[in-house]
Symmetry: C2
Subunit: 171 residues, 2 copies
DNA sequence: GGTCTCCGTGTGATTTTATAACATTTCACG
DNA sequence: CGTGAAATGTTATAAAATCACACGGAGACC
């Protein structure tokens, strides 16, 4: 329960490795998710809500089985499909993302906007920050156009060292 | 063994979805890999060579267990670590890449150059083409600089429909 | 040539991640 | 209410990856 109210001007950060008011962050995001589901005719059921809440609360990438353990503690079903189905729903509707390199999931930080997420993954502390990218605008897009490949989705994940770990880093 | 010699001007393709002389492609690549290992003091052992040959021969992304089956047929060890260790070696030395979205591996198409690979993955036929990208030059790089994140590696994988499948595609 | 060590390999077992299949419940809608 | 589609709970299994340990061959060193 670290409160740390001295947030270091979070608005100056693109997203991610910044301090912020976490309780508000979680409840705002849950509210936004609910509103989004209502307006799109989606069912924001208790399991789905709980999984999103877990992801928001932890504020990092969690494996499906970690989520499953937390679900169990809250009295939900404890078999893998329970977690995977909720995660599938959240990912399909842009409320969460899968980090392919980690086989883990993380809450989306700006679910309402349609976006092409990109992630920065710290190899030391495993923190994950979401940001935007437009891979289709660069060399990848050129290659796709040249070959006739139609891009529908992109996975962009950068592995490296986050600002908090940069001093611990060897190099 | 479909031959289809009417290749659609392959030289105009950046890389990947093009026709080509496959036998030469494989042997050239194996030779280049061997030369690379010799010059770097790496041991290009029979298992490692065979795994790379398999990847080059198939010319698509293969799961570790598929590779393992093919290794077994060639008289190599048949337990998972045999395949994973060889793949780890090939990936670590830039001779192959892992496609994170598929949990599969593919031979590198231009191993000698240091590069930032990007992949185009057809969701219909599962063909994978390797190309170049420079994600750190765009929005992702800006975000990394702004937050102080040091990028060491990037995973860029575009999912979509390849030129050969574009007519089968629904949309 | 001996022999020591490192690295790679072979193997059995286990862990982690994900899905299949099917019964039961919930909910929107008529 | 009744009905059908969607969501959930549960058992079982598949797929992907790693651990741990024994064996053996290639070089380093004497």
């Amino acid at each position: 329960m670290t409160s740390s109210s001295n947030s270091n001007d979070p608005s100056s950060y693109p997203l991610g490795f910044a301090q912020h008011d976490h309780a508000a962050c979680v409840s705002d995001a849950l509210g936004a998710a609910e509103a989004h589901c209502v307006s799109d005719g989606l069912r924001f059921t208790p399991v789905r809500r709980k999984v999103l809440e877990i992801l928001l609360q932890e504020h990092r990438a969690l494996g499906a089985y970690t989520i499953l353990d937390l679900l169990r503690e809250s009295g939900f079903g404890s078999q893998p499909p329970v977690a995977y189905r909720a995660l599938d729903f959240l990912v399909a509707n842009g409320l969460a993302h899968k980090i392919e390199r980690m086989n883990a999931f993380i809450a989306c930080v700006h679910p309402s906007q349609s976006h092409t997420p990109a992630f920065m993954i710290c190899r030391l502390c495993e923190a994950v920050a979401e940001t935007q990218s437009s891979p289709a605008k660069g060399a990848l897009g050129d290659a796709a156009r040249a070959t006739g490949f139609r891009i529908e989705r992109t996975v962009v994940e950068a592995e490296g060292v986050c600002p908090a770990c940069i001093d611990k880093a060897d190099t």
